[in-house]
Symmetry: C2
């Protein structure tokens, strides 16, 4: 039986919900309703937003609850907007994303609308970036690289005190201080840095800990910067791990393994290659370097996460370089970021964000991968 594609229905704030921003090109904090049929794309907004919405994208059919005849008492209910919009468009069956709000779904079903839940990517074309999107991604990734330079520079200019803690200009060089410098550099380029990771020593063994307190010489410092550009909404993603001064032999081994694993992963990136195959090959390189996964007190150690993820209007989106995904396509933008994590030695991760091409990949922006900062 042929699977018919029904019109797509989405609800939410375009500033939060990347699918809506992608389909409409309209930025707004307040929620909207979008109905995409084969012929037309409807955007229902409050009257307050009407002018901005029409100006943002002339290809949209912009409507308000008033025009749709939503009764005054229901004007604050997005489900009432959706019911009225579907009626206007003559649509009775829609596809909705798995994240569609249950409360709204029940009201729509109560009004006789049939909903088909689409698992996984809803606006699947988001994974294949257009040329203008790649330019936006290049720009934010270049800002990310520049911010990494600021972080490296602080560590380069610091020196180790007697206890091994780094100091700069008479004060301890802390995770917080480096994080703030990163965020300031990003802000200069209209990017919001959020909470970049600057995690030293055992703190780096937790892939999501952001790091705090003084940085120390001789220990790996994981620096993961993932800003969003304020205007365009696109994200950058970049990780480097550095050591101030001399790394221990084990840390040097971790670096060689991760560096080789990333090189292997990058070499395998090309259109048509299954993401899972790349992840397996990268995992194998780790094992060949003697770093297998293990569990210590119930906590996994080793290469504990996937090899990479798509980047676009969301920091994590399709495609994924992990266990269970499909093949890469020209125009995918994704990270390649193998890492090793051991409580005893800390974390080690090297991450770049690249575009998939027919024959391989291109960096969005390049950044040195040197471990040691003298």
């Amino acid at each position: 039986m042929e699977k018919l594609t029904a019109p797509k229905l989405m609800l939410g704030s375009p500033n939060v919900y990347a699918d809506i921003l992608h389909v409409t090109g309209f930025k707004a904090p307040d929620p909207v309703v979008v109905l995409q049929t084969r012929k037309e794309c409807f955007l229902a907004v409050s009257r307050m937003e009407l002018g901005r919405a029409r100006a943002a994208n002339p290809a949209l059919t912009v409507v308000t609850p008033e025009e749709l005849g939503v009764p005054v008492a229901q004007r604050r209910r997005l489900s009432a907007w959706a019911v009225a919009l579907l009626k206007r468009a003559g649509v009775k069956r829609v596809e909705v994303p798995a994240s569609f709000p249950l409360g709204t779904a029940r009201r729509l079903e109560g009004a006789g609308v049939r909903l088909r839940v689409v698992e996984g990517a809803f606006i699947s074309q988001r994974a294949i970036k257009r040329a203008d999107e790649i330019e936006h991604l290049r720009a934010v990734q270049q800002s990310t690289v520049d911010a990494m330079g600021v972080a490296r520079d602080l560590i380069r200019r610091s020196h180790a005190g007697r206890n091994g803690e780094l100091r700069l200009a008479g004060a301890p060089l802390t995770s917080e201080r480096v994080r703030r410098a990163i965020n300031e550099a990003l802000l200069q380029q209209d990017c919001i840095g959020g909470e970049p990771i600057v995690a030293c020593g055992e703190q780096g063994a937790d892939p999501h800990g952001v790091g705090h307190g003084p940085l120390r010489a001789g220990e790996p410092i994981v620096i993961d910067i993932f800003p969003q550009h304020q205007e365009t909404g696109y994200w950058g993603d970049l990780t480097r791990t550095v050591v101030k001064g001399r790394p221990t032999p084990t840390v040097a081994r971790l670096y060689r393994a991760v560096r080789a694993a990333q090189a292997r992963g990058l070499a395998l990136v090309k259109a048509g290659r299954p993401g899972a195959a790349i992840h397996r090959a990268v995992t194998l390189v780790m094992e060949q370097h003697g770093f297998s996964n293990r569990t210590v007190d119930g906590v996994p150690e080793g290469f504990t996460h996937g090899t990479g993820h798509g980047v676009g209007l969301e920091i994590h989106e399709a495609p994924s370089l992990a266990r269970t995904d499909g093949v890469l396509h020209v125009g995918n933008v994704l990270t390649v970021e193998p890492g090793l994590y051991y409580r005893e030695h800390g974390g080690m991760r090297i991450e770049d964000t690249v575009v998939v091409t027919r024959v391989g990949f291109e960096y969005l922006a390049t950044c040195p991968k040197t471990l040691v900062i003298p």
Copy 2:
């Protein structure tokens, strides 16, 4: 019939989903599952997050999909975590928020779980701030006031060129430049500014336009700053409208009306008062000053939005000072922000964020309300 309260089930990223952050006190970018029963609060996290989650809140029962016996093939499915967690807790009926994802809901229903959708606030105690929350809110609001001072100062130090456009240090003073200075000031205090509104003249007539290009003398400049503190997650919210030099008589009238409307709104804030009554009284003040609502080319003009909204771990949360809400309670934190918007004259809004007390209100932080910047 008595309405029994079933255990509450929530899914999502604590960094995005304020209810989860509030209940668990655990910050993380990746999604988790939370089950709150009368006796116990369960938090299911990936093994990678286990250590951080246990450290964040010893009162939680932290579990992983592995401990719950989720089959390997389903470990990436949050619905599978939820099914296993409910089984472990012996729960078959749960309450979920209206925003609960439909895809997950269908899988849970398929596994025999009954879901009751709660409309409106799900973790309703969030609207009543504890003392420590009020301290966090005071801190971020003080940073917001400081950033407003930076914006005012730039405008004060500027001068009008021949065409009326403001200039400072040899370059035009633009919305973008003031916005960046605001964000830099906020970042110094670990706050993320997002896109503060700096909207001059007719740009200010659109309550959500962020503003762009050169600022001009003699026209109202709406400055709305709403940062989130990076560590605590709480938001500030503050708006002032200023004029560089001499306002037109109409702008001066708009200011007097909005100032009087805000004073009236603030005077009515106290525990037990219905939010809708406050909004009606504020609207009446606008009308008494000769500013009624009207529609021009389908676009509403006048006092086009509600009087205020709650502020906490979300920038817009309960309670609301608008048409359809309940009474205020001691410990509510909310904005009082009447505004007037006319395409011809621009926007005018004055907004403060206050705590509701038994007898009235307290400012979280105070900020001058002067219109004119000489």
